[in-house]
């Protein structure tokens, strides 16, 4: 498809991507989603510059200070969103929490997609007993209660960010494999793949240069829609006390901490939840819009 757009006389700017971008721009919820996704990314990357305080600075005399009350530890002198049970600035912890959530989600995505795409395209392209064997393994992996695996691995290796990444990646690639396998199985029957084969290209070249570029659209959509899953997953583990351990901030462990003080300081539990929902919602809106834009036939 790329070859075609480059060499035939389609007006400039009318590639698949340009077309999709035009459609996406018309979809208001998707644009709002995109803006918020970029905002969260920006906040995560520039957390050091944006946060009014260090996420671990404490002021025990300011425990549960209400939003807007004066503060000794923040740069602007107020706790904009209030203070937690150690007098730490909630806003700063949310800002640094964005970094943790996004790092986890993006690294997990990268690892699972690389493994998933490789395994999936091998299974889909070669078929036969290779496909049979891989598919059985995938079925078991997908039916496995992953929560247990996280718990086990956490007890075995502790719970730092790398361990969480490992835990989420270990099973996450199965879904991508299945997805890519299906796409490849469909595409390998198409005429341009047959043409490439007739030219004597190697299997690897056909898969990488001819089949995978055509899977890119659906893959991007599925990545966008699975990032919120990982973010929620971390929060869920943290809520059981199994996520990233304090004092390192994460939205999940903030919600976990806040539970004991909910009646005293409801805002402590509300803010990280709001941050989580807005982020997840933004990715979902953007992902939905992207899907409609990349494949107008699916327009509902």
């Amino acid at each position: 498809m790329r070859l075609l757009t480059r060499e035939s006389k389609i007006p400039a700017g009318r590639t698949l991507w340009a077309d999709s971008w035009r459609r996406l721009k018309r979809n208001k919820p998707a644009v709002v989603g995109l803006v918020f996704v970029l905002l969260v990314l920006f906040v995560g990357i520039f957390a050091d510059l944006l946060a009014p305080a260090s996420p671990t600075d404490q002021d025990l005399r300011a425990r549960f200070a209400k939003p807007g009350s004066p503060s000794k530890i923040t740069r602007n002198g107020t706790y904009i969103l209030g203070a937690d049970q150690f007098g730490r600035d909630i806003l700063s912890r949310i800002i640094y929490g964005a970094r943790v959530s996004l790092t986890l989600a993006i690294v997990v995505e990268a690892i699972t997609r690389i493994i998933g795409i490789t395994v999936g395209s091998v299974a889909g392209y070669y078929g036969g007993w290779i496909d049979m064997a891989i598919s059985r393994v995938l079925e078991v992996l997908m039916a496995f209660p992953d929560l247990l695996f996280y718990i086990g691995i956490r007890f075995a290796l502790g719970s730092s960010l790398p361990v969480l990444i490992l835990a989420f990646s270990a099973f996450g690639w199965a879904g991508t494999s299945r997805f890519v396998r299906g796409l490849v199985m469909q595409l390998k029957e198409s005429e341009y793949v047959e043409a490439a084969r007739a030219q004597g290209f190697s299997d690897a070249r056909i898969i990488v240069r001819h089949i995978l570029p055509n899977c890119l659209g659906p893959l991007i959509v599925s990545i966008t829609l699975s990032i919120p899953g990982t973010i929620m997953g971390e929060a869920g583990l943290a809520f059981l006390g199994l996520g990233i351990q304090p004092p390192a901030p994460s939205w999940g462990n903030m919600i976990y901490d806040s539970r004991a003080y909910l009646r005293v300081a409801p805002f402590f539990g509300i803010w990280p939840g709001v941050a989580l929902i807005v982020t997840v919602l933004a990715f979902n809106l953007f992902g939905d819009g992207l899907r409609d834009a990349l494949d107008p036939r699916l327009k509902r």
Binding site: E139, F144, P145, L147, A156, L262, G269, G273
Partner: protein
């Protein structure tokens, strides 16, 4: 399909339990126990046997319904599961009822009134519901409806009334995905020729929607409901934890916080079985909904 999954689950669970640092016997008896007692208890529990023998024993036991003894609670795991599972089943089923009732209604209305204000509003609302973590919603609902407004009991499970708020919280979350899918498939179906025919021959709109369109939209909807069973189970784990309901979820959470391995292993295996049975029921219901699909 079910058997390799269950073998996989037992195997991975078993390996994990043995990779995890810490000696279960010392965990059970305390660090100050003398070595002879430890050796004796280890022998009694069969922990001195080679690992593959231990695994086969575990599987053989599980097939007979014997999942071993809980280290911390000193009771048979099977009995503990059987005591707590009905509570979880009640929560999950009432949540499912709430989810299906709200989901179908909202989905159908959205589809029939496509692009209306109501349609847009419900689609934003459902996406927000999907984006909200269930434990957070449960926590806030508990604070608002239990603590501030005092409409519902805050926690525990002493009467059916205690189950209402948890079921609504859990059900609402799952109603969102059902509503979205119902809308999509209904929109698909409404545009089909046979629906136009039904309208053309003068059938009432209600009959067209409910007996012509909805019946054919049900297959994908049932599929998504089936896929939600696993989410419903995990969701009820979180909901139980927040509302302090003594179900399977609370049991599992307690097991892992206390590192009670046989109990963890048992609850996970049991959860996997429930999941497989749920998927089987969904498969069977296809044949009922669509006579063209035969059970093989």
């Amino acid at each position: 399909m079910m058997i390799p999954v269950l073998i996989g689950v037992t195997l991975v669970t078993f390996i994990l339990m043995n990779v995890v640092p810490g000696d279960p016997v010392i965990e059970m008896l305390g660090k100050r126990t003398d070595p002879e007692t430890i050796a004796m208890v280890r022998k009694e529990l069969g922990l001195d046997a080679p690992l593959h023998i231990q695994y086969l024993r575990f599987v053989a036991g599980a097939l007979r319904g014997d999942l071993g003894m809980s280290y911390k609670l000193r009771q048979p795991v099977t009995a503990l599961i059987m005591r707590t599972f009905p509570t979880t089943a009640k929560l999950a089923l009432s949540a499912a009822a709430v989810a299906i009732a709200i989901g179908l209604t909202v989905g159908i209305i959205s589809a029939v009134k496509q692009y209306s204000f109501l349609d847009h509003a419900t689609m934003v609302a459902t996406l927000t519901a999907i984006s909200a973590p269930v434990f957070w919603v449960a926590m806030i609902a508990q604070l608002v409806f239990g603590y501030y407004l005092r409409w519902f009991p805050i926690s525990g499970y002493y009467s059916p009334w205690h189950m209402v708020l948890p079921a609504i919280v859990l059900g609402t979350r799952f109603s969102a995905s059902i509503a979205r899918l119902t809308r999509t498939t209904m929109l698909d179906v409404i545009r089909q020729d046979y629906v136009r025919t039904a309208r053309a021959k003068g059938l009432a709109e209600k009959i067209v929607i409910y007996s012509h369109a909805l019946r054919n939209a049900m297959i994908p909807i049932v599929t998504i409901i089936g896929m939600q069973i696993s989410g419903l189970l995990t969701g009820s784990f979180f909901t139980e934890t927040v509302f302090a309901i003594p179900g399977l979820g609370s049991l599992a959470v307690k097991a892992m916080q206390q590192r009670d391995f046989p109990l963890m292993q048992g609850t996970v295996l049991f959860g996997a079985v429930v999941l497989c049975v749920g998927i089987l029921i969904v498969d069977i219901s296809y044949a009922y909904l669509d006579p063209r699909i035969r059970l093989e």
